[in-house]
């Protein structure tokens, strides 16, 4: 990219960030949802021990507190929903105006690069915030690893939010798709308790929330290596980004 192209990406990124940050409802949801989710789990779970097996845990049986396990799990669920929704809004709402900007001379790749920069910023902010709230309830073994797990959850789901934003025509369809994906994957199948007894674990391992969930749980409860799961999560996020970029390009390009 030339200096001018970088400058244009910078201008676009600043304005995209402002456009998103001025959306008060989205910002309020970002602040409130993790607190409500953590609060509900803390109020409803007990201290009984749960025995489960992690996919990345070398088939070892772990025995951990129901509350701690649920707090980590709900943290992931809130991050996946928020990141996917914010990234979705970042792509779908301004799509028609983006197309006009492309007509005026912005290259779709410049507009997309700006959105990815903002999306990465959002993903980091969401993961940091949800990780920072966790010690109010419990301190995991490796807090840095849990942050990495939350961060990869945020990245993976943000790219899926972008894909959905570039595919659907209307907001309602997109929101329903996000709710469906987050509920089924992050909110159900990736629960270590469910996974341990699932009939088809191979299918669960293919879903977007799998590797981030493993990073989070392995960091919180074991001292096992994280690298294979981190590599897999990054590959998943990059794959999602490539798909999102291709779909966005198709929607925004101008035929001259």
């Amino acid at each position: 990219m030339t200096g001018t192209a970088l400058e244009r990406v910078g201008i676009s990124a600043r304005l995209v960030a402002r456009d998103l940050a001025r959306n008060r409802v989205a910002v309020a949801l970002l602040v409130v949802i993790p607190i409500v989710f953590y609060g509900l789990v803390a109020a409803t779970t007990g201290d009984r021990d749960i025995v489960f097996e992690l996919a990345a845990g070398g088939h070892r049986l772990l025995t951990e507190s129901e509350r701690q396990l649920s707090l980590l799990f709900i943290g992931m669920v809130s991050i996946s929903g928020l990141s996917a929704f914010l990234a979705f809004v970042l792509v779908l709402r301004p799509l028609a105006a983006d197309r006009r900007l492309a007509f005026e001379g912005y290259r779709p790749v410049e507009l997309l690069a700006a959105k990815v920069c903002v999306m990465l910023g959002v993903a980091v902010a969401v993961a940091l915030y949800v990780t920072a709230l966790l010690p109010v309830f419990f301190r995991p073994a490796r807090a840095g690893g849990v942050f990495l797990g939350f961060l990869s959850t945020s990245f993976v789901y943000a790219t899926f939010g972008m894909v959905i934003g570039a595919v659907v025509r209307r907001e309602l369809e997109g929101i329903m798709l996000i709710l469906l994906l987050v509920n089924i994957d992050a909110g159900w199948l990736q629960s270590p308790v469910f996974y341990a007894h699932a009939r088809n674990q191979a299918l669960i391992r293919l879903l977007p929330g799998h590797h981030p969930a493993q990073i989070t749980m392995v960091s919180a409860f074991t001292s096992l290596a994280l690298r294979p799961e981190i590599v897999a999560a990054v590959a998943y996020a990059l794959g999602g980004l490539v798909v999102a970029a291709s779909l966005y390009w198709v929607r925004v390009r101008v035929r001259t």
């Binding site: 001018t4 400058e7 244009r8 201008i11 676009s12 304005l15 402002r18 456009d19 998103l20 001025r22 959306n23 709402r93 301004p94 028609a96 105006a97 197309r99 006009r100 900007l101 007509f103 005026e104 001379g105 912005y106 101008v254 035929r255 001259t256």
Partner: protein, 207 residues
């Protein structure tokens, strides 16, 4: 290849949207310094034609030759709800690669000409429909392109701004700019060099 003095030429444009044949062999030639009006009934395909001319929609058949850079103001304002009027000028100037001094002066002139300078720091979501339409038009005018496609650009304008718009059109024509204006107002015809009627997917000189 475009003939001498021709800045925009379309031949045999066909476009089907769903089950409707919206364009069925539309031809159009626009020369330098010419103001062409396109009229037609609601739903006759005027906006589809403008989008095809701009390159925002692909025709099923036919071709468009664009001799110069185009400016385009869509019928419905395509803007960013949470950005201010001035931020829009900044964004669109960056798209065209305009230098700061040029776009700031141009934007200021347009704010004054179309009398919406008081809204400069306001977000689009807080603007009236007419003011959004002014911004929509001003963004197309900002880079001062040689050819302008304006799709019902004055919807929601009050009378005085409407008159200012046509005064601006006359000034642009005098400097060799070419304009294609979608319109269905009878008063406009005095300011148009040619009026074309879009009917059954084809363009014909209006009587």
């Amino acid at each position: 290849m475009v003939a001498d003095g021709v800045v925009l030429e379309a031949r045999g444009l066909e476009k089907r949207l769903g089950h409707r044949q919206v364009l069925a062999g539309a031809d159009l030639t626009v020369r330098r310094g010419e103001v062409v009006g396109i009229c037609g009934e609601n739903g006759s395909g005027k906006s589809t034609l403008m989008r095809v001319l701009a390159g925002l929609l692909r025709s099923d058949r036919g071709e468009v030759h664009r001799g110069d850079a185009l400016g385009y103001a869509p019928q419905l304002p395509l803007l960013y709800d949470q950005l201010t009027v001035w931020e829009h000028f900044r964004y669109f100037a960056a798209a065209r690669g305009l230098v700061r001094q040029a776009w700031e002066q141009g934007a200021q002139d347009l704010l004054e000409r179309y009398r919406f300078g008081q809204w400069r720091a306001h977000r689009v979501a807080a603007l009236s429909g007419g003011t959004q339409q002014k911004l929509n038009l001003a963004l197309a005018l900002l880079p001062n392109p040689p050819v302008l496609l304006l799709d019902e650009p004055y919807g929601g304008f009050e009378w005085e701004t409407y008159l200012r718009f046509w005064e601006h059109v006359r000034e642009l024509r005098a400097t060799g700019r070419s304009l294609v204006v979608v319109s269905h107002l009878f008063y406009d015809r005095a300011d148009l060099d040619r009026t074309l009627l879009l009917h059954n997917g084809r363009l014909a000189e209006a009587s």
